[in-house]
C-alpha cells in the first residue's frame, strides 16, 4: 500500500484545540508525524512589551485557558525578581493554594477530555460536575471562573471571603471520594486497558533529550518536580510526595495525574490550615505607585521614580499542571518590561510527538495525544 500524509486537525475531535497533526501513514501504521502549531498565536510576548507590569497578568490567563492561575504565578515570580519586590508570606500561601486548586481543575479537564477520546462517556460527566465545584471555589475569591486576574506584583489582589476555608474543606472531602470513583470507572474498564496499556511509550532518556516535562516525564520514572527540586512560594514548607509511575505509557500518565490530584488535596489541607491560623496582609505594603495605577497622573512621584528604579532580570519556573513552565523577564528601567519570554511545557511535549507516535496505529493517536494533555493556548502564546 502506498504512503500518504493525512491531516488530523485543525478541526478534529482528537486535537482539543486549534492545531494540526500531520501524519504520514502506510495503511494503519504511523511512519512519521509533523505537528503544526501557530493557529492560536496571539503574540503575547510582543504585547507584553507594550504593557505595564500588572497589565501583563491579564494576558497570562489567556496563555493557558485551563491553568490561568499557574501562569499568573509564573509571570509574577519572574516580574518580582526583575523588579526586586518581595510578597508577604500570606500571599505566598494564597498563591500556592491557587496553584493546587488549578492543578485539580486542569487535571479534571484533562481526565474528562481524555476518557471521552477513548470512548467512555460517563467519566466525562463525572469529572465536569466535580470540576465545577473547584471553579466555584475559585470564583468565590477571585470573582471569575476562567480569567482570574488575581495575582499582583507584590502579592495577591484580595484576601479570602469569610467562611471560605470551611467551604473548601468540604469540597476537598467530596473530591477525595470522587477520585476513587474515577479510578473505578477507568482502571476497572476493560476498554480502557485495551486502548491505553503499552501505547505511546516514551522512555526517560528520550523524554529528557526532547525536553518533555511534567506528568509525561514522571510517568517514565524520573523524579523531577520543581515544587520539590526548586521550591517556590510555600512549597518548601508543605509535605507532599511526587507522583511517579514506571510504565512510560498512556496508563502510566493516567496514574501519575490521578495521584497528583490526591497530593494536591493533601497540600491544600495544609495550606488551608495555615491560612486559618495566620491572618495578615495579602499584598506587600508601600509598593511603587506606578504598579497599581499606571495611567493615572502620579504627580512628582510618577514615572520619574520608575526611571530611577534599578534594572533587573527575572527567571522563574513553576510546575504547571502540564509540566515545567518558565518565564524570563527583562526590566530595563522603563514602565514596560523590555522583553518577556515564556517556556510552555506543552510546546516541548508536542514537539517530541515523533518519539511517542511513530510505530503505532492511527486509532492509537487519540488516546496517546489525550495523555499528553495539549493546551493550545500555551503552545502558541
Amino acid at each position: 500500500m502506498s504512503e500518504m500524509w493525512i491531516n488530523m486537525g485543525p478541526q478534529h475531535p482528537m486535537t482539543h484545540g486549534l492545531w494540526n497533526l500531520r501524519v504520514r501513514i502506510e495503511g494503519e501504521l504511523i511512519l512519521d508525524v509533523d505537528p503544526e502549531v501557530g493557529y492560536l498565536h496571539r503574540g503575547i510576548e510582543k504585547i507584553s512589551e507594550d504593557r505595564h507590569y500588572n497589565e501583563v497578568i491579564t494576558l497570562m490567563d489567556r496563555c493557558c485557558y485551563v491553568a490561568g492561575l499557574a501562569w499568573e504565578h509564573l509571570y509574577i515570580l519572574s516580574a518580582e525578581q526583575a523588579l526586586h519586590i518581595a510578597p508577604p508570606e500570606r500571599a505566598e500561601y494564597l498563591r500556592t493554594m491557587c496553584d493546587e486548586f488549578q492543578r485539580i481543575a486542569s487535571h479534571q479537564m484533562w481526565y474528562a477530555a481524555f476518557v471521552q477520546d477513548i470512548g467512555l462517556m460517563s467519566p466525562f460527566l463525572y469529572a465536569m460536575r466535580d470540576r465545577d465545584l473547584v471553579l466555584d471555589l475559585l470564583q468565590d475569591y477571585t470573582g471569575a471562573r476562567m480569567t482570574y486576574e488575581y495575582m499582583r506584583v507584590g502579592g495577591v489582589r484580595n484576601d479570602l471571603p469569610p467562611g471560605f476555608t470551611d467551604r473548601a474543606r468540604k469540597v476537598l472531602d467530596w473530591l477525595t471520594d470522587r477520585f476513587r470513583e474515577y479510578d473505578q470507572l477507568c482502571l476497572g474498564s476493560a476498554i480502557f486497558h485495551k486502548r491505553c496499556d503499552g501505547l505511546g511509550i516514551l522512555k526517560a532518556n528520550d523524554a529528557v533529550a526532547h525536553g518533555v516535562t511534567g506528568p509525561m516525564l514522571r510517568s517514565a520514572g524520573l523524579k523531577r518536580d520543581l515544587r520539590k527540586d526548586r521550591p517556590y512560594s510555600a512549597y518548601d514548607r508543605l509535605e507532599f510526595d511526587v507522583a511517579l509511575a514506571d510504565g512510560a505509557d498512556v496508563t502510566a500518565r493516567y496514574l501519575v495525574r490521578m495521584e497528583e490530584m490526591r497530593q494536591s488535596v493533601r497540600i491544600l489541607r495544609q495550606v488551608l490550615d495555615w491560612l486559618d491560623r495566620h491572618p495578615g496582609p495579602a499584598i506587600a505594603e508601600r509598593l511603587p505607585r506606578w504598579l497599581g495605577a499606571p495611567y493615572a497622573p502620579i504627580g512628582d512621584e510618577g514615572y520619574l521614580l520608575k526611571r530611577s528604579f534599578p534594572k533587573g532580570v527575572g527567571l522563574s519556573s513553576v510546575e504547571e499542571p502540564h509540566g515545567e513552565a518558565q518565564a524570563y523577564v527583562v526590566n530595563e528601567g522603563g514602565e514596560h518590561p523590555y522583553r518577556v519570554k515564556f517556556r510552555s511545557p506543552v510546546f516541548a511535549n508536542v514537539s517530541a510527538a515523533r518519539q511517542y507516535l511513530v510505530g503505532y496505529h492511527v486509532a492509537d493517536i487519540p488516546p496517546i495525544m489525550g495523555s499528553v494533555d495539549v493546551c493550545v493556548g500555551e503552545v502558541d502564546r
Binding site: E45, Q81, V212, R230
Partner: protein
C-alpha cells in the same frame, strides 16, 4: 554549583571563547560565551556538567546587537544555568544546539522567526508559529505594534 565552579570547569575547554560567568539569582550562574565556541560549550555543559535538559532558547533584540540565551537544567545538581551569547545585528547567526539537545529544534525555529537569529546546521528550519512566507520578525524592536504593517492579502476566489 556556583559561578566559580562553572568558570573553573569550562575555562579549559573554551579558553578565551568563555567571556565570563556572572552570578544570577536562583541559578548556578550565567555563562557568557563567544559564539565561535557555541558547540564546544554546549557539549561540555551537556556531557560533562550534566545539564541534560534544555528548558528554553530565547532571543533579545538590544538594537545594536542581539542576545541569544539558553536555559539548561541539571537533574544531578537540581539547578538551572543560563548560557548567553551576543551576536551582531548585521550578521545574527549562531551554531544550532540541536545536535546536543534535540529539544532545541522548536525553540530555535521560534527564535529564528521572532528575533531573526539564524541557527547554522539546524535540521529543520522553517516557520513554526507564523504562516509560511511571513517575512517579518515580530519580536524585533523595529516591529512596532502601533503602526499597522503593510501586508498584501491575496484573496482566492473559487
Amino acid at each position: 554549583m556556583q559561578p566559580e565552579d562553572l568558570s573553573r570547569l569550562l575555562a579549559p575547554k573554551l579558553g578565551d571563547r568563555l567571556r565570563g560567568v556572572e552570578p544570577f539569582v536562583g541559578t548556578a550562574g550565567r555563562v557568557l560565551f563567544d559564539r565561535a565556541g557555541a558547540l564546544d560549550l554546549f557539549r561540555a555543559v551537556h556531557d560533562e556538567l550534566g545539564f541534560t535538559h534544555l528548558s528554553m532558547v530565547g532571543g533579545i533584540d538590544w538594537v545594536d546587537h542581539r542576545e541569544v540565551f539558553y536555559v539548561v537544567w541539571s537533574d544531578a545538581a537540581r539547578q538551572y544555568a543560563i548560557l548567553s551569547t551576543d551576536v551582531p545585528a548585521d550578521d545574527p547567526r549562531v551554531e544550532s544546539a540541536s545536535p546536543v539537545w534535540p529539544s532545541a529544534n522548536w525553540h530555535e525555529r521560534e527564535t529564528w522567526e521572532m528575533v531573526d537569529v539564524t541557527f547554522d546546521h539546524h535540521p529543520d528550519i522553517r516557520h513554526l508559529l507564523m504562516p509560511d512566507g511571513y517575512t517579518f520578525h515580530p519580536l524585533l524592536r523595529s516591529f512596532k505594534l502601533h503602526e499597522p504593517e503593510e501586508l498584501e492579502v491575496k484573496t482566492r476566489h473559487v
